[in-house]
Structures are given as structure tokens and as C-alpha cells.
Symmetry: C2
Amino acid sequence: MSEKISQTDSSAVLFKRKGGTEYQRTCRLDTTHAQSVLHVVGTSLKANLNRSAPPGSKFFSVKCTANVKYSVSPTPGETSHLSPLPLSGNSVLLISMSHASQEEAEEKLSVRYYDKKKKDLGNAVLHLTAVEISLDVDADRDGVVEKNNPNKESWKWGPNGHGAILLVNCDSEKTQDKTPDSEEVRISRVSDLKDMSLMVLRTKGPAQLPKGYKLTMHISQGDAESVRVFRARSSEVVKSSLKKLFSAFVKDYPLVLSSEVLSQEVPYLGGSGEMNFYVEGLRFPDKDFDGLISINLSLLEPISEGIPETPIFTDKVVFRVSPWIMTPNTLQPLEVFVCSTSDNYQFLKGMKNLVTKNGCKLKVCHEYMNRGDRWMQDELEFGYIDSPHHNFPVVLDSPRDGALDDFPYDVLLGPDFGYVTRVARRRDVSSLDSFGNLEVSPPVTVNGKSYPLGRILIGVAFPTATKGRNMTKVVQDFLWAQKVQEPVALFSDWLHVGHIDEFMTFVPAPDRKGFRLLLASPDAGYKIFRGLHNDGHGQAKMFDGVKNEDPVTVDDILSDETLRAENNYVQSCIDWNRDVLKSELGLDDDDIIDLPILFKLLGEEDEYRAVAYYPDMVNMIVLGKDLGIPKPFGPKVNGRCALEAEMCSLMEGLGLNCTFIDDFASYHKLLGEVHCGSNVRRKPFDFKWWKIEL
Amino acid sequence: MSEKISQTDSSAVLFKRKGGTEYQRTCRLDTTHAQSVLHVVGTSLKANLNRSAPPGSKFFSVKCTANVKYSVSPTPGETSHLSPLPLSGNSVLLISMSHASQEEAEEKLSVRYYDKKKKDLGNAVLHLTAVEISLDVDADRDGVVEKNNPNKESWKWGPNGHGAILLVNCDSEKTQDKTPDSEEVRISRVSDLKDMSLMVLRTKGPAQLPKGYKLTMHISQGDAESVRVFRARSSEVVKSSLKKLFSAFVKDYPLVLSSEVLSQEVPYLGGSGEMNFYVEGLRFPDKDFDGLISINLSLLEPISEGIPETPIFTDKVVFRVSPWIMTPNTLQPLEVFVCSTSDNYQFLKGMKNLVTKNGCKLKVCHEYMNRGDRWMQDELEFGYIDSPHHNFPVVLDSPRDGALDDFPYDVLLGPDFGYVTRVARRRDVSSLDSFGNLEVSPPVTVNGKSYPLGRILIGVAFPTATKGRNMTKVVQDFLWAQKVQEPVALFSDWLHVGHIDEFMTFVPAPDRKGFRLLLASPDAGYKIFRGLHNDGHGQAKMFDGVKNEDPVTVDDILSDETLRAENNYVQSCIDWNRDVLKSELGLDDDDIIDLPILFKLLGEEDEYRAVAYYPDMVNMIVLGKDLGIPKPFGPKVNGRCALEAEMCSLMEGLGLNCTFIDDFASYHKLLGEVHCGSNVRRKPFDFKWWKIEL
């Protein structure tokens, strides 16, 4: 072993950690026994020279082997090379090594102490072994696990942000006897690995760690509710296991950390080793979980029997769980879901035509599954989760729990199709918990603040109301906790059914902000009817030819003072929402189109709430440029429905095609329309949620 | 009523709200009925001119009374004054009034519509009443409730921050049958008002609101767990009530909002009115509560029977609840608390002398209350809460719940002395939950980040330990949630008792950072003993003259290899904490003083943990420049204890006076010392917590 004597080495490479602070570990010197020290490259050892000096020591000198660097603090004044340095009360020795050892105790450093006459008083010897340890993740979000990213310990939003990403493993690799994978006790299929985030433990050093040292991976009790960590037995096994039956998986991917095991030893591979871990998210952000998870790896030093090992080095990585993200009407439709019932043939035919024209897929939920519940919009909301390595759709199951209740779990949950729900007490659930009352705007910018994934919209009662219906708290908490589509609360309790999709929707537009907000407007409706009257069509009939429905003339409507008063009230409710939407979505009046729709009030124990007077055209399905609109059965002028004509004229300017679908008997009379009876799964945003500036 | 016709008025004062957005309310025009509109000064009314225009309208003109301002958008091109303006599809009228009306419907605005030949088609009339409404708090933190602070709706930390402050009303105005005031159903004493934050509702307008309109104050369900609002019946009553008996208080200060009542009507005073409200905090920040609370005031417009009133204006104020703040050793002591037991006369005498010298007060907890539990440090921690209008001390009661358990509630709780605790399951409580394991550093700056109130320090087990004791989660969550003294976790599970005050304390210093960190150091201890041996004092005896204790010589100690090995381990545990403290408090080695203290290990079912070998001098009481230090009974040289001499020499350089207190039999032998057996209430920081940059 070649040795050299070196003075203060200002070129000593002290790797920086934690915002510029070097990670320094105090190490003891002992002139009576030689010490063995395991050193982690990138940190430094700090020894108080005075503390363990023999009594009477006034000078010291340091010797070390080639790969050891050291420095003395305070920096000695001008002293000749090779001569002992004066020892002061606060003399400190900083030791570091720049690369891993190939063998144990390969390097050495010694400190010799002298009295005032420079007589030798003793020698403290350190036998040094260096290892490199790095727990690595994809902190730069490019889909590759880079080595020792300096930002891996923190998480930052935005285009210049950093931090690894985790998916909730809420899909099911199984198609039968299924349950979300995160609830399975083990990994059941190789394909499940892609739903997890790869984490790599990179080590370099001698074939084995010095006796008694070990590596331990650990998480906090709080984080253990939200994450599990599996390990690949070895990189060789990973490759060969692809050919094996899945029954071999428990052996090949042992569970390392979970709520049952917060800390577990992991193997040290020796030489240059890489061990793969698979990190699985278990829960979505919520009121009590901000979505951030830390995983730690510590190197433990043995002390003796009955005394806990001391962590002498800890590396940490941070993940954020992907939020659940909703998709607005402006995104490309992929699949349209509707129910088939004994009485909705006419509606289904209309929907099939529309979907065929548009080119997306129609998925029909048959009666054995829907059990007569036709409100496909209300039982579930489609969304997705996203990471640099993988993404998949996730259905949010409403606590509404109608007869369609089993559909999201039994039919939708599957490979690469996730499932999440929130459970509320029965008495806390109201009609406002149906997801016709949960929508999302297209991307908007409000007073300079950008919402590139839009904003979630829900309907509630006025906060001033002493009795009113609301969306249940557990669902509201969930929606707010996702953060990336900050919700806006609208007022929908004025409606009998109480869903915001009864008075608003968004359609794509080639100009302005890329969309228009459509609002139901009784004033716009009365304007049409007054115009018809003035033009001599006062006797034109609504509902003409509709089975079991008495026709009503334009003049009948205009002369009904009660209906007019009720619609004034409805207009004021919609105007209240209009003001909120303009303010919270940053819209101008020119971004909004008023649709001619009348409402009427239904009484219920002295409480009056609104329903649509004729099919509520704003409750439409939006498939790209194709709109499927409830056929209004309005008064005809020259054989053409005046309401359809107005609707077409308003939409054609935006390049949109209107298809009117007869939902009168099977939906409208049951207080819903086309939108309530359908649901659309859409393509995710191209924009990545982690690039949002929060 | 004088009327004038005015064109687009660009000088219209539109008050700005919510980051620059004007608060605009859509209002409907009707040519068939005159409308009455209640307007709130500082907002504007927006009317779509086209929506309610009679069919065939092509032009319009606007007339209004003197105090009404309006503008038309889009701004009309060059048109002569007085001539009707062209009506376009998106013509909008913005209306505002700059001050309150003295009478209802005092002002008027009308819009007249014309056809293309400028023939009159109809007139829409608005009768306008203006009110001024402002819910006010002390958002600029000067102790005075200013009018309509533009920042009252938000909360910002720091020297340039803003936002009102609330105290948890956790003291008790009663001295008998007491309970924290926040748990009383009503205000019981006038003096309780000063523990609450004043909130003022300022209104101006006609003697009464137009029929059916009302003011409602409301909070969210979530906030209702954390706040109550009381009202003074009127400003006159407030003054006169000071002379009344407290039995009149329920009438004089009715409860407005609570978890039972989320929304309640409040009176409108008429003319220029100010109504006082008293806002009371109910809970401290915690894991599920960030400390922020909103209170809203809405003006409701009547619609008709059976239909909820519509809020047409909402004002909002935000409060943050004061955190619980700990006081470090560097703050001035006010009161020292100790227990009197059957066997601690010697100790009490020493403490009395020390406290008398220092000039603060000694409070003795007698045996009927302490029931033999002498560990005053462990049962409670003194802190305080602070606001611009008031502050008082608050004791945090530990879940330790020893025989001293009743002391904090029964003795300390009282007028201007608050009480808070956290309840843990019995099986989750360990010795690490005693508050000898909860300390706070003096103010520090770490890598440029300043902690002007210091940082909380607690002791835990290594996160890598599979079995270890910890401070219970509910207390840790509470401490972290206070935010202003961000905690640091140290490793204390290596100690038998497991408290950080067994190896560390802080003393004031005239230089550097204003303090020194004192650490127990076996190495420093061995250095003293080796020095004594070298100087020929190897036969000097420890514990000389201590009753029932066998003396031990310096050479006995130096030749005990087991003791040396145990102390090497202890030094490595303390060094581990030293590294963390340096890094987390931004300390240099020169900020730390090593005290000569030896430990020994006690075995317990194959687990070995450390206790002090002789009285643990670091476990001292710090009263300004006076230190009360456990008398170590070290080896004597020329009649003087070498350990006391070293201690004095180390402390004298800082201008500190050492008083050694004999706690050997009554504390040391029971595994505690002076600090464990005492507690100090200190003066709050001059620095205000809301000025921290977080």
C-alpha cells in the first residue's frame, strides 16, 4: 500500500447535499485502538482532533493513502511541509474519499500527536472502506431513472420543476375475480410492474459490506398508508421471470415495505450493483394526504448486541401521487356510453347515428347490468392518471349508488382501467351527488393565472341557506385535493334535480379561447317566442305530434304570467352562476352563448324548484364538432322548429353540427336529457399535470 | 328628483376587488314592469341591453339621476350627445353608485328602446337604492379594526404581510368550577371579550333595508369546528353592560355562529351603523386544520315564498389562529415551578437560593397536588399565544399523565392562563412523551433561512429501528402544525429515560449567535479523568461523602474497559445528534461546548440503554445568567471538585454563574436531575410570530 503525506488539500471534493450543506458525520479518533470506518462517497467524516488527543498534545501530523483526501480547519498558517501542525482547541479534520473501495479497509489515515518538544505521544489510526450508495428515481420526469439526481429529495411543480411521480395502482390486471391491484397482497402479473414507478438502488464497493453493516429501506408510518415497495429479486431474475408462471411472482418480487413493515433490510449486491424496486401508490391525494411520499435508504453501523444499529448515511427520494384528472368537452371523444332500456329504442337509434357519424365507439350497457337505471352520466365520471412512464383512465364512482352502481367496478375496472370511489353515509347523499353535477371547463386563464387543465365545476346550495342540498363532503374534499383543476362551486340547488348540466355546457370553438360556454336562458327563450308572436306565429304549437303531450301555442306561453315570473326567477339563478363563471373562468360576455330554454317550477312541501319546460337543449352530448341535442319539439314555422333553427344558427357560426335526438318520452319526461343519459371517455390532455405552476 | 342624461362615463368609480376584478352582478331590465334594485356601493350592476329589448329595437338611450353612474360597452363610436345609441348584440350597461342612499328608491335609471326609425318601443325603469356594507377586522395587525382593508380576505406571513389574528380562547375567566372558556356555552365575564378578536360590521344606507332583504353571517361546516362568533346587542349595550351582572351576558352577547348554527341573520342598523362582533378561536392548528378561518357576510335578496333568497353581495374576512409558541432558555424567566416531596428538602433549599438570587418567583407544587410525582419538567410545557390585541401563557399538558396530571388544569388554567392537551391511547404513550423530551432552541438562521422563534427539538427512535420508542403521533402532529418553530427530531431512544434534556441544553452567551449549545460528552469526561491521573490524582474519589454511595477512584474509572466501551457508544449517539443539530440549527463547532459527563448502560431484556453515571450536569436550569446545575460529586483536587471546576471554567467565559444543587438522592438516583424536576415560565418573545417569512 503506497502512502503519502499530504497537507491541507483544498481540492478535496466534498459533494454538496441538502441545499449546499455538506453532509458531515462526526467520527471519533482513538490513540489506543485502531478504528475501522465505513465511508460513503459524497459525504465527509469530521474528527475533532483535540477531543481524543493524549494529554499534553501540542502538535499533530496526518498521513493517509492515495485515495483519501483530508483538510484541517482552522486552516494552519504558514508552516513548512512535513512538519507537525500546532493543535488548537477547535482543530478539526475533514476526511473524504472520492470513489468506492474494491476491498475492505483498503485505505488508511493516521494522526500522530506530539508534545511541545515534538515528542511522539501516540497515533490514532483509521482503516477506511468507501462505498457509493444512491437510491434513484426519475426525478427529471423523462421516463428514465437517472443516477443521483441532486433534486431527488424534493418535489417542485412547473415547467422547470422536478420530482418523481407515482400512480395509484387502481386498475386490475385480472379480468375475473378482480379487485384493484393496490388491494392485492402481491404482484399477480408482470404487466402490473408498468403501473408502478421504478426505483433503483445503485451501490459500488467491496464484494461485501464490513461485518455487521447493513442497508435498510424505510418509510414513515404516515406514508405507509399511501405506498408499497416491491423488490426485484435480482436483475437476472427479472429477465428470466418473464417466461415463468405468475405463481413465481411472490418469490421474484418480494414485498419490502408496506403498512405492516415500515423498515426492512435490503441486500447489498457488491461490486457495481443495481437493484430494481417497484413503488406502488395506494391512495389518491385527499384532505388528509397531500400526495407526497418519501422513501429512505439508510446504511446502518453495528454497535453491539442489544443496542440499536446507528444509521450513518441516509439517502431519500420523494414521489408525488398523480392526481385524478377530468377531461372537458373540448378533448377528443374515444368512447360513448349509454344504457339500453325497454323504452329507449328511439334515443339509442339517435345516439348510434351520431356516434357513427363522429367516428368514436358506442358502448351500450345492457339491462341486466343497468337494472333500468338509464342515467349513465350520474353514476360515474371518467378521468385519468398520468406519469412520465405510463397513464391510464380511471373512473370515479359516485356515492349516488343507483341501480347502475355495479357498472363502474364490474364492467370498467380492468387492465389499464382504474377505479376510485368515495364512500359517504347514506343520509349525506343527495341528488347533487350525481355526476351530472360534476363537470370541468376547458383550459382557461384567469387574471394571469393559468389553468391548463381547466377547472372542475360542481353545484351546491347557497352557503347562506339554512336548509339546502349539497355535494357530499367526502367527494368535495377529494376533488379539491387533486389541486390541478381547482374547483369552482356553482349554485344548482334551485333545480329540482339539482345538476349543473341542466343549465350549462361547453362546446369547442375555432376562435377566442377555443370554446364557448353555453347557458340556458329563459330571456333568450321569451325573445324567440315574442318574435314568433310579432311575426304572426302566435298560434304555432309546441309539442306538436308528441305522444301523450298536449300542444301549447306560442301565445299560450306568452300570456302565462306565472310561467313568466317563474322564468324570471330561473334567469336570476342562472345569471348568478353566469357572474361566478365569468369571474372564476376569466370569461367575457362574448365567450358565452345564451340558449332559448324555458323552465317551470315544481312544488314540493312549500319548496319550489325548477325543471325544463321543454327538452333542455343545453343538456347535450359534445363529440368534437358533432353535438347531440335533445329535440325541443318547439313551435314550427314553415315546417321547421323555430327552436332548432335558432340552435343551429347559433352553433353553425362555430362550425358545429347539430343532431337533434328525440329523448322526450324516455328521458325528458323522467327529468333528464341526452347528457344525463350518456357519458364520454375522452383522450387525456397532451399537457402534463406536473408542469402546472401551482 | 333632478335627472340628467349622461353619455358613457369613463370616470365611473368601479371599486376593485379580488385581485383587480370588479365585482359585477348581472341585473335584468324589463320594459313591462319597473324594477327595484338594491345596489352595494363598490360593486357594479351589469345589464345586457339586447336581451330584454323589445323585438325590432335598433337604438337605445339612458337617463339617470345625479348619483347614478353608468357606462356602455362596447364604447359607442362618435355619436352626438343626447341622440339614441345603436343597439348591438352584445351591448352592455354598467351601473354603479358612489355612496349610500338616505332613502329607499332614491335614485333611478331608465333605458328607452327605439326602432330603426327611432320610434319609441318601450322603457325599462330601475329604482335604485344604494347601501354600503363592510365586514371589518384588524387586517393590518395594529390592534385597531380599520375600515374595509383591501387585504382583509386573505392572509400573508411576513413583515409585509397582512391578515387578522385569532386566539384560541383556552384560558378560563372562572377560578372555580373552571373549564376553558371556549368550552363554555356562553360568555360568562366581560373580561372574556379581550380573548376574542373584534370584528365590526359597518353599514350605511336608508333607515331600513327594502322589504325582504336581509344580512346573513355564515361560515363553512369545516370552519365551524374552529370558531364561534358572538355579537354585541348594540354599541350602547356594550358600554352599559360593563356595569351589569354577568347573568345579563347571554342577552347582551348572543351567539351568532357555531357548529350548531352555520348561518344566521344579523340586524341591519340603518343610517350609519357599526355593530361589534367577537370572534373566538376554538382549536389550535393541527394536522387537519391549517389555522385559517373565513367569516362571510351576505346580503340576501328575496325571491318569493318557498324559494331560497339569493345572495347578491358577499363580504369575507380571514383570520389565522395564533400558534402555540415555546420559549427557549435565552428568554427571561418569570416563574420557576418545582414539587415539594417528603425527601427533597435539600433540593428545594438549593432551588430557593438560586431563584432568590435570580429575582424571579418560585412556585412550589405541594404533595397533596403532586402525589409524590416530582418530575415537573415532564408533565407540562409552558408556551404562549399572541395577537396584536392580547397575549397570554398556555400550558401544553403532556399525555404522560403521571401523578402530577391534575396540576396543569387544576392549578395553572385560569384567567389569562390557557390550557391545551392532546389525548393519546394509553398504549401509544412512552417515556419519550414526557416533556423533558421537548425543548426549543434560541433563534437561529440556517443556510439563510431564519427561525426568529427558534426550532422545537424532540427525541425519537431511529426511523430504521424495527422496535423503538417514539413521541406519540398526536403530539408530534400538533407540534409540526404550529409551523413557526419548525421541529427537529433528535435521537433519544438510546437513553433509558429517553429525554433529550439528558444530553443537551442551551445557555445565553454575549457573543456569536447569542447562545451556546451544551452537550454531554463522555470524551470530555475521560479527558478530565486522564488529566487527573497524569497529574497524580488517580486515587481521588468520586461520590466522596455521598450517603449510601460507594466512592470510586479516578483510576477505577479509567481502568474499567466496559465503562469505556459503553461511553464510546454514548459518545457516538451524542455525536449523531451533534451532526443533526449543527445542520438543522446552522451551528459551528465553536457554538457548542462539550461538558464532561459519563454514562453507563442499564440492561433490560437484552436491550441496553444509557443513564448518567454521576449527576448529569447538562440537565440544568437556566435563569438568565444563573445556572442551577446538578452537583456532580466528582473527585476533589485540593478540596475542590474537579468537575465543578471544569464546569465553572467553561461557563465563566460566557459570564454565567454556576450554582451546584445537590439532587443526588432525591432526583439523580431516580434517573432525573435539576431540569427534570423543575419548569420555567418565561417572558414571550418580543418578535411577533406573524412577521415570520414562511
